[in-house]
Amino acid sequence: MNVITRITRLAAVGALALVGTAAIATPAAARPIAAAAAPVSAAELRTLLNTLLAEHVYLAAGATGAALGGRDAEFKAAAGALDANSVEISKAIGLVYGSDAETAFLALWRKHIGFVVDYTTGVATKNRMKQDKAVSDLVGYTQDFGAFLAAANPYLPKDVVAGLVKTHVLTLKEVIDAQGAKDASKAWMSARTAAMHMQMIANPLTDAILKQFPQKFSN
């Protein structure tokens, strides 16, 4: 199987895996933190968001690395775990803003993962146009994400959130580029940078939620 066929197949499998959560069972023993213990204190909320968002980066890096390396089974597993993480992040949002917000957030969040899959496919196939389109979609997505959180919380200005998410996109792009160049050292160091950056999203998000609902979370 040539590389284009393989990545196309992987992308198709990935899209299915990312969209079809119902088909992906999370073992009870490996139940993630949001399902296991809903946050009730400010510290727990902060820990939950930081953990989930950093996990998002490592799982995304695992999925893209496996896809670019042509490791089908690993890619499917990583994509499934990545989607489970997406669901958990959405549940955390739903805990604060309700089930409608949870549903909308999950759809938005999965959308950006779809664009990352597009970008990875572009890297794998050395298709510059596909890469550029995916980057453009991702940058556009940052505006949507910013608008969503700004609508949910008056202490989260759209442009500020969009800027932080743009940095997330760019740091993850560096990981994928390094994976595409077969530079494992750079890829994993970039993954660390990208994961650490997520606290720049998790902490302001936590602070804004606590400011918006000071009575809901204990200190």
């Binding site: 009730v40 309700g98 089930s99 409608d100 917000a101 608008a147 969503f148 700004a150």
Partner: protein, 126 residues
Amino acid sequence: MDARSLIVVGIIAGLTAHAPPRARQLPGRSGEARVTVQLFKFRPDTLVVSPGATVAWVDQDEIEHTVTAGTPERRPRGSMAFTGTLASRGSTFQRTFTREGTYPYFCERHQFMRGVIRVTRTGASK
């Protein structure tokens, strides 16, 4: 149920107590029915009006949405087709529904956002 669980249940109950009803019935002839677009959702997602009612969509998100007839999978043609653009917060789009029927719609930019206008002589409230 331990204290921790009670707190969580309390938070969820408190935050969802203000959730809008899934379907809202509003009069047609006498005025305008309104759908708010907030947090990437049409609220209410199902609106029941009388023939002749004008429905106004109001964007409360800081992003562009559309009000596009049909569903992404099945788009109507001809006079049944319409698209309104809600450029950003405060933008509105209006459409008058003269004939009975069920009119699904969605946002072209965020296709998970779906809504329905049901036009019926008997369904609207008095």
